[in-house]
């Protein structure tokens, strides 16, 4: 049984049907990237998995547990096992770096303070911000903020990490430091579903790449297949367009 199994997932915004019958399996420790033109539903897929948007139908299983998106309390369970980092910086502005990373384990999970803080320290060390514990988000660069956001997501020990274009809002010189963190996580065996426009990075870090268009999965393959020998015209057009930039 795959670590994450998405089976026939549909989602809409009001009357606009945005995801059509998405089926995707992700093995433990696998890194799968979603690519595709803007508006193809990549963000919606991630947001639906964490329940920010409600799926209209379909089944999602993570670590042998079927997720139930129907009620607030069952949603909480679903969120126990996954974490998401968004494109826009969204750290809590009124909390320090360490406050941002510890709030969920302390206040939501009610884990032991000593353990939580030790874990948070080691996570912040890992993202290279061990010296910024007491800083506030507005005192950090965009790259640093995204690294804190990654640490905050990891603080709940998720079984799956979702990353939605987390380098798109960054100045070019700050992209590298964030991608390095993701590379490290991939090496450590974190299961990840990544949306990214950094094609070089996608190619290097992904075990498989999923091409999406108009709310559907068009093609799934290894990076070599998708970038060097795509089967579908839409994939070929898209990769040709983004790689020529």
């Amino acid at each position: 049984m795959p670590h994450l199994a998405i089976d026939g997932l549909n989602a809409s915004y009001k009357n606009l049907k945005v995801l059509h019958d998405i089926c995707l399996d992700v093995e433990r420790s696998e890194v799968v990237s979603l690519i595709g033109p803007s508006g193809s539903g990549k963000s919606t897929l991630l947001r639906t998995l964490v329940g920010v948007n409600k799926p209209t139908s379909g089944k999602v299983t993570l670590a042998q547990r079927t997720l139930d998106y129907s009620s607030a309390s069952s949603l909480k369970q679903a969120r126990d096992s996954m974490a998401i980092v968004f494109q826009q910086y969204n750290l809590f502005q009124n909390m320090t770096v360490i406050g941002n990373v510890t709030i969920a384990p302390l206040k939501i999970k009610k884990w032991q303070r000593a353990e939580v803080e030790e874990h948070a320290h080691s996570l912040l060390q890992k993202v290279g911000l061990g010296h910024k514990l007491k800083a506030y988000p507005d005192e950090l660069s965009g790259g640093q903020q995204q690294r804190v956001a990654i640490a905050r997501a990891l603080a709940l020990k998720p079984q799956l990490l979702l990353l939605d274009e987390i380098t798109s809002a960054l100045d070019p010189e700050l992209v590298g430091e964030v991608l390095d963190i993701i590379r490290g996580l991939a090496r450590d065996g974190m299961t990840m579903l990544i949306v990214s426009h950094e094609m070089g990075f996608v190619r290097e870090v992904s075990s498989r790449v999923v091409m999406m268009d108009q709310g559907r999965i068009v093609e799934i393959g290894t990076p070599q297949q998708i970038f060097d020998a795509p089967k579908e015209t839409r994939t070929r057009d898209f990769t040709a367009r983004v790689l020529s930039h």
Binding site: V52, K76, D80, N90, F92, Q93, N94, I108, L156
Partner: protein
């Protein structure tokens, strides 16, 4: 003929004047908290209320921020008795300032509600926070921090604005100064001293508000940089 200052004539009245200063602070304090609480309901309505309630509150805000406070209090003090409602001058002035402040403070607090960023709420939600936890850990601290500086300035404005009471015979600082000046005619000395007292009050208020802001809400600026 050169004017000879006789500050002694002012200083012997210092205890009397300081008593007035205390009353000024009291008026400012009541107007501020009364206005803040009323304004909070107003702000909540302006952001989340139904269309009808919104336009009522908006009408209130427009009316009170576009007419002079003097006129509003004048109405409470002279027009209400015609309807059988007698207010003491202290009550009329304080109530007038509360109603007036509520309008300004509704606007300020509304900006606070609007400043909460959806991205932070999304993050809170996906971390698993409940509505109540979001309110407590994300929304309220954010609003408090955003509106703290304009709230502080407004309080200081009210300390000075309470002098409007003198027009209606309230014996706050300015009222008492007028009382002394009309009896001993040392108007210049009296008002220099009174000016000094106002400066001390507003400086003390901005310093302490600034310290609280800096340490509790991480607000920079003001007198403390």
């Amino acid at each position: 003929m050169a004017y000879t200052f006789q500050f002694g004539q002012a200083f012997i009245h210092l205890p009397y004047l300081l008593g007035g200063a205390l009353l000024s602070l009291e008026i400012a304090f009541i107007a501020f908290w009364g206005g803040t609480v009323l304004g909070l309901f107003g702000a909540y309505t302006l952001v989340y209320g139904s269309r009808l309630l919104r336009s009522i509150v908006q009408g209130y805000v427009t009316f009170f921020t576009n007419t002079p406070a003097v006129v509003q209090i004048f109405f409470l003090f002279y027009a209400l008795p015609e309807a059988g409602i007698m207010l003491s001058s202290f009550t009329a002035v304080t109530l007038g300032l509360v109603l007036n402040s509520a309008a300004y403070l509704a606007d300020i607090q509304r900006a606070g509600f609007l400043s909460v960023r959806q991205t932070e709420l999304d993050a809170a939600e996906t971390l698993g926070m409940s509505r109540l936890q979001m309110l407590r850990y994300v929304i309220v601290p954010h609003i408090a921090r955003t509106i703290y500086p304009p709230l502080s300035s407004f309080f200081i404005w009210l300390v000075l604005g309470s002098s409007i009471g003198a027009l209606y015979g309230v014996e706050e600082l300015t009222g008492r100064a007028l009382n002394i000046a009309t009896s001993n005619l040392r108007t210049i000395e009296i008002f220099l001293v009174v000016g000094g007292i106002y400066i001390v009050m507003t400086l003390a208020a901005s310093l302490s508000l600034g310290l609280v802001g800096r340490h509790v809400f991480r607000v920079r600026g003001g007198l403390l940089r």
